[in-house]
Symmetry: C2
Subunit: 148 residues, 2 copies
DNA sequence: TTAACTATTTTTAGACG
DNA sequence: CCGTCTAAAAATAGTTA
């Protein structure tokens, strides 16, 4: 039982940390589902276990939300980008309410199927490059890939 | 006060829905921060207001987590992809614990700077396509872009 | 609109099997 | 590694300012 208020800081014990990770991850997914249902919105949560494995939830899908995020942030680039920082230097990006977003790009005369094929092709290319870059970035951080 | 148990279903009243969205979004961000701190992990949450504005939080950053997600899921593609479905047909992707991930791709002889330039170029291309596709997908759902 | 307040529900740390 | 239990902490729906 939670007898005392728990301090929000790193849990040093690895087993306990993993247990808490599992419980809180489930809680986070549940909260996300509730947000989606009650507010009729889209949302995604992505996190990684200590071993580096992916846990992700999204509605309608993780990829859908991620793509929409990428599209929206890139669309904001040619205008001002309102970024509200929150405590702890972690990134909190918010666009102002009632602000118009602009989706003015070339490619206007392409059909949906053409666009999707082009997108698929570039996805493949891009993944390979991102893989490689991430491999480089993360290769120095894989001390605890081998769990007990 | 919460006098009765609330049903987790769509809130029909627009103002109430938005209020709940704001409150629950804050709660979700807080939970995510606690997960990050207590479990020493990385996580990101992305969601959208009714007006279509982005609210995202991530540690170390949203983009970092998103890129890692993209890299990991694409890396899994050439192997079996363990996808655990959860209730409600929404996507929950989990990699098995203690499973090795493979980052074997061509491009091996490219340097970091070459890769980054290539990535930048493709980012730009891809964004334009994703923009367009999303514009098409979401253009039919923008009834409530004009808020009071 | 946005911010307190607070009665209740919900989450969760730790224990146990 | 599950799941279950429980007391205390935390989140939150509805209200009021």
């Amino acid at each position: 039982m939670v007898r005392t208020k728990v301090e929000i800081k790193r849990i040093e014990d690895k087993a306990k940390r993993h247990t808490t990770f599992t419980k809180r991850r489930q809680g986070l997914f549940k909260k996300t589902k509730e947000l989606v249902k009650r507010c009729d919105t889209q949302a995604a949560v992505i996190t990684f276990s200590l071993a580096g494995n992916i846990f992700a939830f999204g509605h309608p899908s993780v990829d859908n939300v991620v793509n929409r995020y990428i599209a929206a942030t890139s669309a904001l680039e040619h205008d001002e980008v309102p970024v509200h920082e929150e405590a702890e230097k972690d990134a909190v990006i918010e666009t102002k309410e009632d602000e118009e977003r602009l989706f003015e790009v070339p490619l206007k005369d392409m059909g949906m199927d053409e666009l999707e094929e082009l997108n698929r092709t570039m996805e493949e290319m891009k993944k390979k490059v991102v893989d490689k870059i991430n491999g480089m970035i993360w290769s120095s951080k894989n001390e605890d890939l081998g769990l007990p």
